[in-house]
Symmetry: none
Subunit: 207 residues, 4 copies
């Protein structure tokens, strides 16, 4: 856990933000269109043309706001990152105990991925588009986990162990069980499955 999240932080230099009201709208339209298109087709199959079409602007307009295809992708990831964390945070805060908090956290993450199928696909592609960006995403995600886990350990609410290992294990569980989802074809997974996952986590964490 020596590295800080800064180390992984993506390069955002040279990005110009829109100034006028109209410009902000166009910018937002493009970002939204990008989320849709990347989410549907994946980064590599998606084309800038399609993003502009979906946003209702000309091709040239795209380059007024973004340096290129990769740039809009990066900005999108960052945007989504904040979104996800906020969403999970909300789910967690109402929890009674630390253990319950973690269990709910991972399930919340799991559910979020399922609900926002786009995010899953976009995130997945991030790894092959910009490894650092991808790691930054999870690492910064992990940091939050790790801090909470450390506190909980200090209070004896969960057992002592390497918190970073724990964090990655938990994220892995969330992601992979989300991957299994499509096999259930839109329906919820069987209760027994969800129970199994929850069970697994509680066992591994409880003091």
């Amino acid at each position: 856990m020596a590295e800080t999240s800064v180390r992984y932080f993506p390069d955002l230099s040279g990005i110009t933000l829109p100034k006028t009201r109209k410009g902000k709208i166009t910018f937002q339209n493009l970002l939204q269109a990008a989320e849709d298109v990347f989410g549907e087709k994946g980064y590599h199959e998606a084309s800038v043309v399609e993003v502009t079409m979906r946003a209702g602007v000309a091709q040239g307009t795209f380059y007024v706001y973004f340096k290129g295809k990769k740039d809009i992708f990066t900005q999108l990831i960052i945007h989504l990152h904040h979104d996800v964390r906020k969403s999970i945070q909300q789910e967690i805060t109402s929890s009674a105990s630390r253990l319950e908090e973690e269990t709910r956290g991972i399930v919340a993450f799991f559910l979020y991925l399922h609900k926002h199928a786009n995010l899953y696909k976009i995130l997945r592609d991030a790894e092959s588009v910009d490894e650092n960006l991808y790691r930054w995403y999870y690492h910064s995600f992990a940091e939050g986990y790790i801090k909470r886990l450390q506190k909980a350990m200090a209070k004896g609410e969960i057992r002592q162990t390497d918190p970073e290992a724990l964090a990655y294990c938990l994220m892995g569980i969330g992601t992979f069980t989300a991957m299994r989802w499509p096999g259930w074809e839109g329906r919820m997974p069987p209760e027994s499955f969800l129970d199994g996952v929850r069970d697994f986590i509680i066992r591994a964490l409880s003091a």
Copy 2:
């Protein structure tokens, strides 16, 4: 768990197999070159030209043995799939108890991924190249797990719980901890990290 691995099995019809000794060598060379190139650059950045150059054959030769870029990728995945399973199987069979077996299994998988850094990257891209292939890979992987877990549960060697959930949790842990690896830049991860993972698994499984 109703689905059988057949359901995800990729379509391999219409492929020309090499008939002579020389042909087989060329075929192998191409497959090996593909593993190298896809592993280094990722599927999307890799080009067929580079694969042929690396294999020391003309561009046209490629299409004697493979239908196209995607085809060789598919064949490669299948090839690696057998490889990994064999490798893990060997690691496992020598284990004393079932619990130890599983713990070693996951660590073996984890180590395999680290050793064959290529595989990790290739597998990762599989998801965006052919979702079915990707799922087939893990699903068929899970099947092996599930069977062993069920047996172990029956004998009371590990605790009762949904075996499928367990399998996906374990695979998720393996994959994500492998992802963390590059942060250590080629060195082995700290012992405490590995201990943490092993710990996590043992606790979650033990009866």
Copy 3:
């Protein structure tokens, strides 16, 4: 004769139309270049590269206005179709009697083919490029004929017989005599030949 020309109408969806003056010029240049190249080399021997070179634009520009090689060919056929019909129409309208009209019509078609040697070759290739397009061309051509022939029959200007058969016979005559043309190597065919054809038609039509 139940089918309408609509049935054979080629699919033109998804084509980008030029919006500015400059774009329209480029579009026209490409179409003209295509007529030249296809006419000289035939569809299969012609290459997109040559069309773009002839039009004085980059290869990529081609795909701004056309979906591909086949697409520009289709559009070309349609364009020529209107051209021919207009040309023949003009030739016909000044005719005194219906019988003379038809005779002149077929000869006009015949002359048009000779003058636009390209058209003959292009049309010929249409059959192997897109059978429906080819049929559409002649079918829609036949429809015009048939209508006129029916009117003429009703007025007793030409004899009663199956108008569709008549139309296809006439088109066959036009096309095949045009085919014979190159044997005369650029010179006009002997008067006796032309007379023979005219004769043939008049006899077959006159009441």
Copy 4:
């Protein structure tokens, strides 16, 4: 009608015929396979590989018997040419009068084309593969016609006119009415249509 058929005769030099019994069979198999494949896919879409596969021989074997793709096509056309003429000849010879003979001849040609849909397609492609070969085909065909027409004219059985023009008119009628056929989707054309064609010819020829 100054040219002789020799002028159009295709270049057949350098063709080696099979010597052994086995060789002859392979040769025939290849030629038959070529007829099938060219007939189904057209010359340009057909591939040498497919011909060899259909013939059940290796790719290299093809070049033992033929100089190349175009060569086998040429030989095929010549082969078919004899076939067609023989077939039409048979149909004609039993005719009572010269006029009937011609009428039956053209209808026979028409029917032959319909029955051997392959021939139609192959012949069609000949024009774009080797113009001379194509013209040779029809010209040599025309010669037969012309001779018979001249005799008939001499005897006053049909009216006096340019025999070459007549011949090409007749061939055009046959080919184009054959083209109309697919619109009837495998069924025979209406009697009225066939009557119309026959009528047309008789009118044009009778003294």
